[in-house]
């Protein structure tokens, strides 16, 4: 029997996904402010409403 591939566990999969997502965003040159706003929303405040996400993505800009 082969040893199990992972033994450390992934206790917080959402946090793992969010962290990788934010790193990927920064990697493709998305503005630092946007990444900061999304980090605050997803990881610090853990608010996942559409309104919060819209504010994080569009910042202060109203939709035209």
């Amino acid at each position: 029997m082969t040893p199990p591939p992972t033994v450390e566990g992934t206790p917080d999969v959402p946090a793992q996904v969010f962290e990788k997502f934010l790193r990927a965003l920064a990697g493709v040159g998305v503005s630092a402010e946007l990444v900061v706003r999304l980090r605050k929303t997803l990881l610090e405040e853990q608010t996942f409403t559409e309104r919060a996400l819209t504010a994080a993505i569009l910042g202060e800009e109203p939709l035209p």
Partner: protein, 818 residues
């Protein structure tokens, strides 16, 4: 996270007062159906989470934790229903007591309650999946891909991941939808500008050339460049305020021609044909009641499908064939999805009509502004109302629902009231009657209108550019999130898939050691296909037996939990799982749990005593790490096969002079104990295919086996020249022989007078010595230190030792080799 040291349950579910000492080790509760095993599981879940999933959630109807959690006799006093668990938190090296009562299920009294302890207990509470019943287990295997994805997402707490994914997609879609009218506006304002410029292509060179030609007429300097802030009429003297604004004749006539073209377009044969086609589609959709509340109903049906458990409609309680009802509801969901597809097709067809309406409205609005400057005034009320209705029609067609209103509005799209055409005609005549402006006035009007429309176009383009940038950003964020989460989840699923296949392959290594599995995530679903003896990959329910599916469910659960909690996977409660797995594979499950999860405390329930023995012989359970529930009554709750309880109960019966009850209980207990002894001592008993052995077959066999083992032990000690041991074994043999003789069990076959069938007829005075004799006899099978029955080791092949679990008794029964 935690290990359970003990649990005390009072007045909870079917339990009156019960304490189990688990000592943080694997523990099993065995007993027939209805003896209270699951009550212990419920109590444990309640203590750790404040909830009992069997009494809450989907499909529970009128049953509730608060009302039906207490013992039925304490249902009006929920404070009496209490569960206290002592747990160890290995990471903190702390022992913690948690107590809850059903009076306030959410309030746990935790001692000590420091923040670190509370954080760990919070994590435990957030993972109620530590309790796994067969019902939950099978959901991982036999569910539809969408449902399985939900179950596993819940287990892995992926709901947040999916919520964010959905939110980002929605934001991206909203941004893109808002681009459509802005693009139309940009096109319209550009056309309006081009009309003034009298050109077909909007280039800087063309605009500057036209503007400078008109500026030259007014003696204004030529513009050298055209930037975002350049004004075409820069330097031009603005008319004084007393001078009324004039209608720019040439531009007004051009605008009138454009409006007529727009009206011709909207009344054209292709437009009429498109209206007819869309109307037919909408009428067909409108006749389908599924459309109007499609999304709501789809959600409703999907929820209903989840709630169907028995063959009863969850809404109206009408009896149905279970599979038939599920098929019926699923057909409705499929139909709604088909309707949704048809709706999207219609929306695509209707889009050009919405653009045409916007174009007409914009053209009419320009004419209204010209008309406002006409002297004498030109009455344009009908045109104004027409413009307003085109605006409303645009909104209606964009919204689509309700369909009946959309169909009504659609019918009016190609219709232009004669009053509109008349008003335009009157305006055209008024404009045509205007005196031709001087070259200077014409140039001034051209520059004014061109500048005005240039600004409007620039504004529309700015809005479109900003919206475009937002839409691109939102889409980029959404796409990156989808790709990242897919990568993370695919990685997790790949790890789980490998681990799952490895675990299952171990349990079934006799014939499926090369077993493979595929967890395939796709569009929010999670397919599970498993290898069937190298013939290909199929759904688990396709060819594998129910027992194999149970095994798969457990292995997938274990793989998921290991990846979810890693080293924190210290507790799992398996409530009567593996019912369908045969005894050989259960033995392998024991080996798997022991080998692969040495740091996990498994608390298991089973109604099968053989399964319990497998757990013991495989070393999954140590010593007294089990509880045998023998009966249950509403007054007493579960009663256990516990020495102290049994002898006390027998004495109680005798005190009441109820020999019949005492004799019945002794016989029942001896059946249980002699089965256990024959198993532990590997006593030869005539095989019965139905496994219905009688006390008369078992107890004498156990006694004979013990005596034979004593003889082997004595011979072995002699072969090793261990004189002291020889004497000890001889003393043990003598003592045991006396106990056996006192019980008269060996005479059951030949002396009917002492047979247990006659116990009922004995007097209290005659039966008391019988009970004592058997109590003493059973003591002769046990270690004097730990009280545990001795067992032969190993459990197969040549016996080597007769030993107990604590190690105090360890008698060699193997002779020295010659």
């Amino acid at each position: 996270m935690i290990r359970v040291d003990s649990i005390t349950i009072k007045e909870f579910r079917g339990i009156r007062d019960l304490t189990l000492d688990l000592k943080g080790k694997n523990f099993a509760i065995c007993g027939p159906n209805g003896t209270g095993k699951s009550g212990v599981v419920d109590a444990l879940e309640f203590a750790l989470t404040g909830n009992v999933s069997r009494l809450s959630g989907e499909g529970r109807g009128d049953v509730s934790l608060r009302q039906h959690g207490p013992h039925v006799d304490s249902r009006n006093d929920p404070d009496k229903a209490r569960v206290t668990v002592k747990v160890t938190i290995p990471s903190l090296r702390k022992t913690v007591t948690i107590e809850r009562s059903l009076k306030i299920p959410a309030a746990a009294y935790v001692t000590p309650s420091d923040p670190a302890v509370l954080e760990v207990l919070g994590q435990v509470k957030a993972h109620p999946e530590i309790v796994l019943s067969r019902r939950e287990l099978i959901r991982y295997v036999l569910a539809t891909p969408g449902k399985r994805a939900e179950e596993i997402q819940t287990l892995l707490h992926l709901d947040q991941v999916e919520k964010v994914r959905g939110g980002l997609q929605k934001i991206a879609n909203t941004c893109e939808r808002q681009l459509v009218p802005l693009r139309t506006a940009a096109t319209q304002t550009r056309d309006n500008l081009l009309r003034v410029l009298e050109m077909t292509a909007l280039t800087t060179k063309n605009v500057l050339a036209a503007a400078n030609a008109h500026r030259a007429i007014l003696g204004l300097p030529a513009l050298g460049e055209l930037t975002q802030t350049t004004s075409l009429k820069d330097g031009m003297v603005t008319p004084g305020p007393v001078q009324p604004q004039r209608i720019p004749k040439a531009q007004a006539l051009a605008d009138i021609r454009a409006a007529r073209e727009a009206l011709v377009e909207i009344t054209s044969v292709p437009t009429t044909a498109r209206v007819a086609e869309v109307t037919a589609d909408l009428t067909a959709l409108a006749n389908d009641p599924a459309v109007s509340a499609g999304v709501v109903r789809e959600t409703f049906y999907a929820t209903g499908l989840e709630l169907i458990e028995a063959g009863t409609c969850p809404l109206c309680d009408t009896s149905w064939d279970l599979d038939g009802l599920k098929r019926y509801v699923q057909a409705k969901i499929d139909h709604l999805k088909e309707v949704s597809l048809r709706r999207r097709t219609v929306e695509t067809k209707i889009a050009p009509l919405i653009t045409a309406l916007r174009t007409v409205r914009a053209a009419i609005e320009i004419l209204l502004r010209h008309a406002a400057h006409a002297r004498p005034p030109v009455v344009m009320h009908v045109a104004s109302a027409y413009s307003a209705t085109r605006g409303a029609a645009t909104e209606r067609l964009s919204a689509l629902l309700p369909l009946a209103e959309t169909i009504t509005v659609l019918a009016n799209v190609p219709i232009v009231p004669q009053g509109v055409l008349d008003a335009i005609g009157e305006l055209e005549r008024a404009v045509a009657a205007l005196p031709e402006p001087t070259k200077q006035d014409a140039a001034r009007e051209w520059l004014t209108i061109a500048q005005e429309r240039l600004e409007v176009w620039r504004d529309a383009m700015r809005k479109q550019t900003a919206a475009n940038e937002q839409a691109q950003r939102a889409r980029q964020v959404s796409d990156i999130y989808a790709a990242t989460s897919d990568t993370v989840l695919t990685g997790i699923y790949a790890d789980v898939q490998t681990d799952f296949a490895s675990l299952y392959g171990f349990v079934n290594r006799d014939d499926e050691d090369k077993f493979k599995a595929q967890l395939v995530p796709s569009m929010g679903k999670l397919g599970l296909d498993v290898d069937f003896y190298g013939r290909g990959f199929f759904p688990p329910g396709a060819y594998h037996s129910e027992g194999h599916q149970d095994g798969m469910g457990l292995c997938l659960y274990l793989a998921l939990m290991r990846h979810l909690q890693g080293a924190g996977f210290t507790l799992a409660v398996l409530d009567d799982v593996l019912m369908s797995v045969d005894s050989g594979h259960r033995r392998e499950v024991c080996a798997l749990l022991k080998r692969e999860f040495p740091n996990t405390q498994f608390i298991m329930t089973t109604h099968d005593p053989i399964w319990l023995r497998h757990m013991r012989t495989e070393g999954l359970l140590a010593g007294r790490s089990s509880a045998d529930f023998r009966t249950w009554s509403v007054d007493l709750g579960p009663t256990r096969w516990d020495d102290r309880d049994v002898w006390t109960e027998i004495n109680d019966h005798l005190e009441e002079n109820d020999v019949r009850a005492a004799a019945g209980l002794l016989r029942h207990y001896l059946e249980y104990a002699s089965t256990e002894l024959c198993h532990r001592l590997r006593a030869p008993v005539e095989f019965r295919g139905d496994a219905r052995y009688q006390l008369g077959e078992l107890m004498p066999a156990a006694i004979a086996r013990m005596q034979k083992l004593h003889k082997r032990a004595k011979d072995a000690a002699s072969s090793w020249n261990q004189g002291e041991t020889v004497d000890q074994v001889a003393a043990r043999t003598s003592a045991f022989t006396l106990l056996a003789e006192a019980s008269k069990a060996e005479q059951w076959q030949v002396n009917i007078a002492v047979h247990y069938n006659n116990w009922d007829n004995l007097t209290k005075e005659d039966f008391a010595p019988v009970a004592k004799a058997f109590r003493d006899l059973l003591g002769g099978f046990a270690c004097s230190d730990c009280n545990e029955y001795l067992r032969v080791s190993p459990d197969r092949e040549t016996p080597e030792t007769l030993r107990c679990e604590c190690g105090k008794t360890n008698i060699n029964v193997r002779r020295k080799s010659a």
